[in-house]
């Protein structure tokens, strides 16, 4: 029956070819972009808490040691969340009638625990141990971001497996010992960062990055030192990246 399509259909045909290439790629990259965005990872997303607790104020401005509240951080897997009692040890004296602390007092009176919204969460099948990381001098900020800057606490990094492996595969890039205080225990080193920030002493680039909660590229020299440290601490790199180190 002669011509059944108009010339424009040729253009359509061409377009459809490009579409067949572009659309799937778009979906692929779009999807992965979303999955890496805060929408999925919650990085930097703050949650409503019964009390707008500020690490900035307590850890940085007041300079309270992390271990004052997170008592078991260098002893066990869990850092530990402070019982009401810990808060009350100060707040029975100061801010005793500030309205934002009412939930705290309420909890104290009624013996009802405060119920916080969890910010940092690993899947059930990942077994993370705070104490050993602290024992290697890994600063809190390495994983939790610039805690001392957080008015309301939020997630510092997306805990992706790749991100964990970066360090577990090449610990020498992340392990360091503080030149300024050579005979400080790793535990103290891990937690000394904040004191330095408060005292405003000169920070090394690495510490600067930690302070800002940014990733840091170790220099060749630092990596060399890191290697020595790895050897000194008898860190078994291969074993660090074995599945059962974190999954059981």
């Amino acid at each position: 029956m002669g011509q059944i399509f108009s010339p424009t259909t040729n253009t359509l045909a061409k377009l459809s070819i490009y579409g067949a290439v572009v659309v799937p790629l778009g979906i692929l990259f779009g999807g992965s972009a979303i999955s890496r965005s805060p929408y999925n990872t919650n990085v930097g997303v703050t949650l409503n808490q019964p009390i707008p607790f500020s690490h900035k104020h307590h850890a940085n401005e007041l300079g309270i040691d992390c271990r004052y509240c997170h008592t078991s951080v260098e002893k066990t897997a869990f850092a530990g969340v402070p019982p009401t009692h810990t808060c009350m040890s100060c707040h029975s004296q100061i801010w005793t009638n500030s309205p934002i602390l009412e939930p705290l007092r309420q909890s104290w009176r009624s013996n009802e625990p405060l119920i916080w919204n969890r910010v940092n969460k690993l899947p059930e099948f990942v077994y993370f141990n705070h104490s050993i990381h602290i024992a290697r001098g890994i600063s809190c900020n390495q994983c939790h971001g610039a805690i001392q800057k957080m008015q309301v606490t939020s997630k510092g990094f997306a805990f992706s497996m790749k991100w964990c492996l970066d360090c577990h595969r090449e610990p020498e890039k992340y392990l360091y010992s503080d030149e300024a205080h050579p005979n400080m225990t790793p535990q103290d080193q891990a937690l000394s960062l904040y004191k330095k920030i408060q005292s405003g002493v000169e920070l090394t680039p690495r510490e600067e990055a930690l302070k800002e909660g940014l990733p840091y590229q170790a220099t060749a020299a630092e990596i060399e030192k890191g290697k020595e440290l790895v050897a000194k601490l008898k860190v078994k790199k291969e074993q660090l990246a074995d599945c059962w180190t974190c999954h059981r």
């Binding site: 002669g2 011509q3 059944i4 399509f5 424009t8 259909t9 040729n10 045909a13 459809s16």
Partner: protein, 178 residues
């Protein structure tokens, strides 16, 4: 000197051999911008209209080569470099283990290259084409055989060419409008 009012002249035959002969003579007569149409491939028709092309073969060859390289590289990178894991004490990179996937990717890319190449070179998909304007052209996919000398051929001169085509023993000669 060519003619822009029409796409070309279409001669119809009812026998494959006639078409081959006609095409041959048209070619001898110096026509170059022409094409022959048949419901099934006819041996020698391409030589008759003086057409040579082996690009498809080469595309498929290179498709295969790339497929093989990519296939092996993927495995070597994934299991050998990016995340080498000991499975049952096997070597990280082990070509016998990697052969099957390499082979399959070779075939896959090669056939993609072939088909896409074939369509591309043939300028398909192209739902609209002037030759469909020829009134009886729908028989070209059934039981008739056509020879079309296109207007863009320098030697094309509508009456002259029409006469030439009729001289080839065609059943009919018609103008193919744009």
């Amino acid at each position: 000197m060519s003619d822009t009012r029409v796409y070309g002249l279409m001669a119809e035959f009812d026998d494959p051999e006639d078409l081959v002969v006609a095409s041959q003579r048209a070619h001898d007569a110096g026509y170059r911008e022409m094409d022959a149409y048949s419901p099934f491939p006819i041996h020698g028709l391409d030589d008759a209209i003086g057409f040579k092309d082996s690009k498809v073969q080469w595309m498929m060859f290179w498709g295969g080569v790339i497929g093989a390289a990519a296939g092996f590289a993927l495995q070597a990178y994934a299991n050998g470099m990016d995340y080498p894991i000991n499975v049952g004490g096997r070597p990280f990179i082990s070509w016998p283990y990697f052969f099957p996937v390499t082979f399959e990717s070779t075939i896959l890319l090669s056939s993609f290259a072939g088909v896409l190449g074939m369509l591309g070179l043939n300028g398909l998909p192209k739902p609209y084409h002037p030759v469909f304007n020829a009134p009886r052209f729908d028989l070209a996919t059934q039981d008739r055989f056509f020879l079309c000398i296109e207007a863009k051929d320098p030697k094309f001169e509508i009456d002259e060419t029409a006469r030439f085509l009729e001289g080839l023993g065609s059943l009919s000669v018609e103008e193919v409008p744009h």
